[in-house]
């Protein structure tokens, strides 16, 4: 079979560049697709004409776009869709190819597909949550009356810029509401994961969305920088060093490490064995690659025991064949990343104050070559202090620290945290949690940190990012 070529999309039109990159199998390096790479100047020139993309979307009502999104969800999940020039890709092809380049086992790709499908088929629910129930007619007209008060909204940008990561397909669900909100996207896909956004765009187009709404630009650092600089609003995903660069920019929503955590209160700590399941799944689901994976377990006591129990549960986990339904670990598309994480963990364990609770239960090394790829087996670090370098870290693999902190000091010591699952029934602690400004999403009770609600944004409100409210007066 010929290697497919994925072109750039300029207002939805394929554009094949003379410069190409390869998307390779994480195991044997074989080329699964070539990807057109465009120079930043092309993006800058297209952005000058972005009004035509907005106009194309503006011709449709929000209701139409919600319906199109829903149809796109079904197409994305089930149907054959164009892949590059003249080729079609079935849902199964997509699943297998994405698995082969990302290292995600089939079962995880499928879960991500289902998540994306849910998001697309529930855009109405999501918009309801984002807008707090604003009538679609008001969104279409730009103004109207809600709960007896006049409201008026205006877009903050002509396009939503996206600099996407390669780690997990479901992150694409973050931008999906933008289409129903009539804001075109200008995207740089992750170098190793063009599959999901390209398929989503094709699903939208096949469902009836104007193709002009989609800019898909595999590009270099200059191009990525221009997307962030020139789109009025943009999302960036990356590690802390990347996201720190844009931390103070109100036009850029930063999606970096989540540092999500499970906190157990004084009142529930004696029952800790009951919560090992939720702790283990929060740490290891989706291969431990998500910002909503727990990376620290904060407890008032029994940290050694809990670390040991998690080590016993997660330590023996091994890579399984990609099509094994029980596969938990993901391979590394870039083996050097696995090697780097392994070396970083070893270096931090060498000093005092932390021990590897998984090591006694792991036959062999953390970094292994298996199933043709490079994998990191789970790691649980028992830390003697929250100040230990490993206590509040996040890695692209199942990893968490277990550390003791008095309940009264937990919230002040955990730092910015995307998801906190707080296992407590203590009303006073709950009040403190509800008041905490460093927690984006709060789960009270033994819920996985992976559990998020589509009608409640856990990381920035896309509607408030793309639209602003203003006062309005209209003469009778």
């Amino acid at each position: 079979m010929n290697t497919p070529h994925i072109p750039c999309l300029r207002f939805g039109e394929p554009y094949r560049s003379f410069n190409e990159s390869e998307v390779n199998d994480y195991r044997d390096g074989s080329t699964k697709a070539t990807l057109s790479q465009v120079n930043a100047g092309i993006i800058r020139r297209d952005l000058k004409q972005i009004a035509k993309a907005r106009e194309a979307l503006a011709k449709l009502s929000t209701r139409d776009l919600v319906d199109i999104s829903s149809k796109a969800g079904d197409l994305f999940l089930n149907e054959d869709l164009p892949l590059g020039e003249g080729s079609m890709q079935s849902a199964q092809d997509y699943l297998e190819t994405l698995s082969s380049t990302s290292g995600l086992p089939h079962v995880m790709v499928k879960r991500n597909m289902v998540k994306i499908h849910y998001a697309l088929t529930h855009v109405e629910l999501i918009l309801n949550g984002l807008t707090r129930g604003i009538n679609f007619d008001i969104l279409d007209q730009g103004h109207g009356e809600q709960a007896g008060a006049p409201v008026c909204f205006y877009p903050t940008t002509d396009a939503l810029g996206l600099v996407m990561p390669s780690n997990s397909p479901a992150v694409n669900s973050l931008w999906l509401p933008s289409i129903a909100l009539k804001i075109p996207i200008i995207m740089k896909p992750g170098r190793e994961e063009p599959w999901t956004p390209y398929r989503l765009i094709q699903a939208f187009i096949a469902a009836g969305c104007p193709k002009e709404a989609f800019g898909f630009y595999p590009t270099d650092h200059e191009g990525a920088g221009d997307i962030l600089r020139l789109c009025g609003r943009a999302l960036i995903f990356g590690d802390k060093s990347t996201t720190d660069l844009y931390a103070g920019d109100p036009g850029v929503q930063v999606h970096g490490p989540g540092f999500s955590k499970i906190l157990i209160g004084d009142d529930e700590i004696e029952n800790w064995p009951d919560y090992v399941d939720v702790m283990a799944s929060s740490i290891s689901d989706n291969g431990g690659r998500s910002c909503v994976n727990a990376s620290a377990i904060i407890v008032p006591k029994y940290s050694k025991e809990i670390a040991d129990a998690l080590g016993k549960r997660l330590g023996p986990l091994k890579p399984l064949p990609v099509d094994d339904p029980d596969a938990v670990l993901s391979g590394f598309a870039n083996p050097k990343m696995g090697e780097w994480i392994d070396a970083a963990l070893d270096a931090d364990f060498e000093g005092c104050g932390a021990s590897d609770a998984t090591a006694p239960y792991r036959d062999g090394s953390r970094l292994i070559k298996a199933e043709g790829g490079t994998y990191l087996r789970p790691t649980i670090a028992h830390c003697e202090s929250i100040d230990h370098p490993l206590a509040n870290r996040e890695f692209l693999c199942p990893y968490a620290s277990v550390v003791e902190v008095p309940q009264a000091e937990m919230l002040s010591s955990i730092g910015p945290t995307l998801v906190v699952t707080a296992i407590t029934q203590d009303e006073g602690f709950k009040k403190d949690l509800l008041r905490a400004s460093n927690v984006e999403r709060l789960n009270i009770g033994p819920l996985s940190t992976m559990k998020i609600s589509w009608d409640q944004p856990h990381e920035g409100n896309m509607f408030e990012f793309l639209y602003k409210r203003r006062s309005i007066g209209v003469a009778a």
Binding site: F18, N19, N39, G41
Partner: protein, 358 residues
């Protein structure tokens, strides 16, 4: 005349020119102190053993560019030019002593010849040009003005110091680099606003930046003459199809430097995937694409190191290895000798090269 005959004829012309230049630079009555002294230290005599270009390639070692940095300018003055003040032109450099080439009329000869390759449609005569790019101690500034003058035009200048840009980029001061480029573009736009200009000489990045802020066609630009940094196929296509709007503005890419002069380009377009091939102003300068280990040209359409030989009465520089690599291209009717295509910094595929905005 068939292309084969043209190739044969140009090769004969090159051989005759080589013999003439060797005689000039290695004869005591006309040669320069550097080459006369150099010849004394060899165990062979260029006057006797170099009769054609092939002999030159076999006998001469690679020219060492450090000589242009370390030795006083006077050693390069041919006897025939003794007592005549010379221009001093510099190339490259970010810190320390730059390389220098002296000259009298070479730039005029080179650029007058180059003028013949430009069309009157895109580079109208008796009008105004503007150069936006490195001026300062470079030969280019005088050369462009001369080229404009040859065509009956006068030229406006906006300077940009590439050494400063390189330092900004090397120290990751990207905001400063962008601000400096904006500063140059602001000045160019001011000229375009207040004066009538039909032809531009600039660098690819500056051209792109200018076009983003001004409709160049509406501004009256008919031709752009562009060089200075790498233009791969995709970038050349972008400049032709989009920045120059598919030929509405004539786009003339060039490859050149202070040591060579100016190489013309083979026409580009979809038919050759926008692969820009340059042809040196032979016989005054010769470009070869070679394997430096064997000193032999690589096969056509394969990559090799660019080697430049400059042979004028003012300056002789045999077999200088440029810091570039390129594809070797076949001769064509208007330049029946080898060309160099898709020129890029040597090792560009292996490491990041600071080229920046200029």
């Amino acid at each position: 005349m068939s292309i084969d005959d043209q190739i044969k004829q140009s090769a004969e012309s090159l051989d005759a020119h080589t013999a003439e230049i060797i005689k000039w630079h290695f004869s005591p009555e006309t040669g320069s102190p550097f080459w006369l002294d150099w010849a004394k230290e060899q165990d062979w005599n260029p006057l006797e053993e170099v009769n054609n270009f092939s002999d030159l390639c076999e006998k001469f070692p690679n020219f060492e560019d450090e000589w242009l940095r370390d030795l006083p300018n006077e050693v390069w003055v041919p006897q025939a030019y003794k007592g005549k003040p010379f221009n001093i032109f510099e190339t490259g450099g970010t810190t320390g002593m730059p390389k220098q080439r002296i000259g009298w009329d070479d730039f005029r000869i080179d650029y007058s010849a180059f003028s013949e390759t430009l069309s009157d449609e895109h580079f109208p005569r008796d009008h105004y040009w503007m150069m936006v790019g490195p001026t300062g101690p470079r030969r280019l500034r005088l050369a462009i003005e001369h080229l404009a003058n040859v065509r009956g035009c006068s030229c406006y200048f906006v300077d940009l110091d590439p050494r400063w840009v390189k330092r900004l980029i090397a120290s990751k001061q990207f905001d400063q680099a962008r601000a400096y480029m904006d500063h140059a573009i602001d000045q160019a736009l001011t000229i375009l606003k207040h004066r009538s200009v039909s032809a531009l000489f600039t660098t690819p990045k500056l051209l792109e930046a200018l076009a983003e802020r001004k409709d160049l066609i509406r501004a009256g630009i008919k031709g752009v003459f562009c060089g200075g940094t790498t233009m791969d196929k995709q970038y050349a296509r972008f400049l032709v199809e989009e920045v120059c709007e598919g030929g509405k503005i004539g786009f003339v890419p060039t490859y050149g430097n202070t040591l060579m002069g100016l190489a013309r380009h083979h026409p580009i377009g979809p038919e050759n995937d926008y692969s820009i091939a340059y042809y040196a102003p032979q016989p005054r300068a010769v470009l070869r694409v070679i394997d430096p280990e064997t000193n032999k040209p690589v096969e056509y359409d394969t990559w090799g190191r660019v080697e430049l030989t400059t042979m004028t009465k003012e300056f002789f520089m045999p077999r200088f290895l440029e810091r570039d690599e390129a594809l070797r291209r076949k001769p064509w009717a208007e330049a029946p000798w080898d060309g160099v295509a898709e020129v890029r910094p040597f090792g560009a595929m292996e490491k990041n090269i600071v080229e920046g905005v200029y």
